[in-house]
Symmetry: C2
Subunit: 558 residues, 2 copies
């Protein structure tokens, strides 16, 4: 609206939403809350929020005064979840610089590409990660300083051209308070690169505003809903979408953090749950699978842990049931780097609680919070209804959702058309349905879905149905060109040892017990030795499509 | 920061925080949640959030098309808590106009002053309130339309110069969706006048941003923390600081609302708790005192109600204990019209839970959330420490805190120096202490505190100590001028029937069992018949100070 004759101005204060506010609040009002870091032997390391606040101020002074870090400069962190990483989380954005968390699981050449693309000038690294960092350093063109925290062999950095600093030496004696600048809440605070399996990694730059609002959402009772009575075991890495926003959210309400550092194996995780008694934990399903096996083999007292947030990929129903039996209530959530990540949380609606429908609701990706608008777009760009039936690509919009990717300092962000709609909604690349009451069920990735005669066929649905057949150990379904229908599904299966290929029987199985509609049943079939996988273990369907195009597969047509 | 060569832009979407987003979200994702309005006889009236959403759209169309309401125009509501009032709460700000809730408890002349000051063009009124509105109407200079909802004698409006409309007729047949405008989140959304006992009422204008952020805070687990599993009995009136933000907050997460309409007496409240089974309720202490007496006289099944938010004035310890015994956990909160109102919530810290200290924490005003910065200012303008000892005037800052008062359309807001500091913090007028862990304890009003030799003496503390003496039924302590100390306390007491005035004994009692420091003990004493009170039942100390100044009191000097 343009100002008019009778415009009424709000009389509210104009106070920006800044990470420094979360820091100051957490380290005063919740000053006695603690970050506990696992050390693998002996007592864990404990630091209060008040101490974290004081040390974050010292770190900011050191970065500014000793290392000359200016506004908007990128500071990389190559670190596990620990107290020093939390200090960096708050000090760097609060002083006006940008926290750039580096994913230590990436192939080294991709990591180097990302550091160079972000033009990080400083890297704060855990000593235990120097074996990864040292050989990379010569390829990092912009890194002038390396700051090392915790145990680890410093001699690995001998001969580095970057200056090497001890974290503790650097911050020692610095003032324990800092006059945090009153930044624009829309200014850049942190960045994280997506590790897409195709194309170059893409940088997402979070703002103070987006992180602050996301933290409030995480703390809402309908989301994670933690309070200062809780201790959260933050297994999801701090280098992975801000550890799902937990360090910021916990500081906002005084939730204690239990940080596993590099001890992410099932045995130490079980041990820290038993001895530190967290009430909440957050991690991807793989971690929980391992923990479950450990707890089955060697039972522990894990009664404190009553709430478990699972995201990253879908939680298998069997895993959810197993955790329920242990008294750990699983709450499913969906998100991605571009959504900060909180997109949905699967708390069942009031009317389903205590009924048979409850478990089905918990297996969905969940419900959108008020801050996330959602819509489904069909094969021809049409809007689809929230009827729980119509499958389309999920598009989202909101104050903590990306609307572009980073394109280098002083450059306008880029908005690739396959990632952002014309009206600037994020195209998630996920295909699914939304129920009338707002529950999202993802069925496929948009790049894997089969577009057959203007309708979509879910490759994942076909694969799951195939893998339910006793003769099939693995199955991958990909779209292949078809003259009549545009695309049709090609079913590739890995057979159980000793089984023989009977594609007609498999096809009949799909249409019968598999519950697949007739028009969706594959005509093209092939046996493969193994499903090709990406470096992170996902099905690599690109490879299968190429093999098909190159005539490398022996295809039977029914 | 000014843009620099290497400025990094956030890649987050720029999505405004708007009330229309809360409405759209609540009426879709939480479309089956309900607003239940008590009718006094027979079935209560029930409406789903989806229906509220549709009717809010109809109301907006009616206001725009039929009544010509434009952007920023003020629409007054003279209404109890009910479904139609909720519809107005969402329709009016969402369409770009301003919701102006009218306090029906105010003296009629003050109400007329406020409507004229805000220049309301439309008033939406409950039929049951027409006996209040009708005689006012001739004095309301800007009101062109009156829209009447619910039962009530319309003939009271016969002869009115304003056009009279039936709410249901007006919205009937209008489209049930509305293309809500994408407003600036800082634009005005709602206004509420303070009913200060001194001076003219002052208008506070909330923005979409402030209401949205406040709603998120209310929903945080550490604040009220409600979810769609809850039903909230909203006793605090919608004309009183947006019913503490509950209509917005509940719509944001699908919390069911139970609205008492005009049935605020103890008996119907007890009846609606028993039959509708709310899990949460919010009201001022007076309401709870009455309800407690009712439940004691006529026990009911109120087991559903486990969480009770009390604010508005301090909750007496005896009341808190009595509710605890009934299984209703009282949570104390502090706020004011200028703070939206959530300023503090008294949830005890983790380390106090289950200890003797817990109850003491619950009796404080509570702890500040991250969105509210607080500081204490002493008698000479100095900042005081958070030591739980130093008493100063509380000043607050934050995105849902007022930084000015309304000064008429197209006029810059006003910032009286006694209400706002030079750096634009709100001076609350409340005096108290803050503990190192951020708990606020209010001890007095700034205008009532006695400034004696550069130190503050709490009038409330002296009054409470005096009223603990068996001979004293009421006591009021006011500041009077003193040549040596600037100000000294004057103690005025109402004696128990048959008691005789022994001021020396009372003074000794204060210094002994009363626990008052010697330098704070009053020298000046007087017996009065009754403590003068304001229209809302608070001690009117202005009157006592004037009587003292005029020599009307018979003062004994010890």
């Amino acid at each position: 609206m343009s100002p008019r004759e009778d415009t009424v101005l709000s009389t509210m204060q104009d106070v920006p939403l800044l990470i420094s506010r979360i820091l100051t609040h957490g380290s005063t009002v919740h000053g006695t809350s603690r970050v506990t870091t696992w050390t693998g032997e002996g007592e864990p390391h404990r630091r209060t929020f008040a101490e974290i606040g004081a040390r974050a101020a010292q770190l900011a002074h050191a970065l500014r005064a000793d290392l000359g870090v200016g506004d908007d400069e990128r500071i990389g962190t190559l670190a596990w979840n620990n107290a020093e990483h939390v200090e960096a989380y708050f000090a760097i954005p609060s002083m006006g610089a940008i926290l750039h968390t580096l994913n230590l699981r990436l192939p080294p050449e991709q990591l180097a590409w990302i550091v160079n693309h972000a033009a990080d000038r400083v890297v704060i690294a855990n000593g235990s990660l120097l074996p990864l960092l040292a050989p990379l350093l010569p390829h990092l063109k912009t890194v002038e300083h390396v700051v090392v925290t915790g145990p680890g062999d410093r001699s690995l950095l001998d001969g580095a051209t970057a200056q090497v600093h001890e974290y503790e030496d650097l911050i020692a004696g610095k003032p324990t308070t800092y006059d945090w600048p009153e930044l624009d809440e829309r200014s850049a605070a942190a960045m994280c690169y997506t590790s897409g399996t195709t194309g170059e990694p893409k940088g997402v730059v979070y703002s103070h505003r987006s992180i602050y609002l996301h933290s409030m959402q995480v703390n809402m009772a309908q989301s994670m809903g933690l309070t200062d009575q809780d201790t959260s075991l933050v297994v999801v890495p701090q280098f992975h979408v801000n550890a799902w926003g937990l360090p910021h959210a916990t500081f906002m309400t005084g939730v204690n953090m239990l940080m596993p550092d590099r001890f992410l194996q099932p045995a130490p995780l079980a041990e820290m749950i038993e001895s530190e008694r967290p009430t909440h934990a957050a991690a991807v399903p793989t971690i929980w699978q391992g923990l479950l096996a450990e707890l089955t083999a060697r039972p522990r007292d894990v009664a404190s842990l009553t709430q478990v947030t699972i995201g990253g990929s879908a939680c298998p129903p069997s895993l959810m049931e197993a955790f329920d039996r242990l008294g750990m209530r699983v709450c499913h959530a969906w998100g991605m780097t571009e959504t900060s990540p909180l997109g949905t949380v699967a708390r069942p609606p009031a009317q389903a609680v205590g009924t048979e429908a409850e478990f089905a609701y918990r297996l969905t990706q969940g419900r959108f919070p008020a801050g996330v608008e959602a819509r489904l777009t069909g094969p021809d760009g049409e809007r689809l209804p929230w009827d729980g039936e119509s499958a389309g690509e999920l598009e989202v919009r909101g104050p903590w959702i990306a609307g572009a990717y980073y394109n280098g300092p002083a450059a306008d962000p880029i908005r690739p058309a396959d990632k952002f709609s014309e009206d600037n909604w994020l195209k998630t690349g996920d295909v699914g349905t939304i129920s009338p009451d707002g529950y999202l069920t993802l069925t496929d990735r948009a790049k894997d879905v089969i577009k057959s005669g203007g309708e979509w066929i879910s490759s994942v649905e076909l694969e799951n149905a195939l893998m339910a057949h006793p003769d099939v150990t693995e199955a991958a379904v990909v779209a292949v060109p078809d003259e009549k229908w545009g695309e049709r599904p090609l079913a590739t299966v890995v057979l159980r040892e000793g089984a023989t290929a009977d594609f007609a029987a498999l096809r009949a199985f799909l249409g019968g017990d598999g519950g697949i509609a007739k028009w969706q049943l594959p005509e093209r079939w092939a046996v493969i030795e193994a499903v090709p996988k990406t470096s992170v273990g996902k099905f690599d369907k690109k490879v299968l499509r190429r093999r098909y195009a190159d005539g490398e597969l022996e295809v039977t047509r029914l």
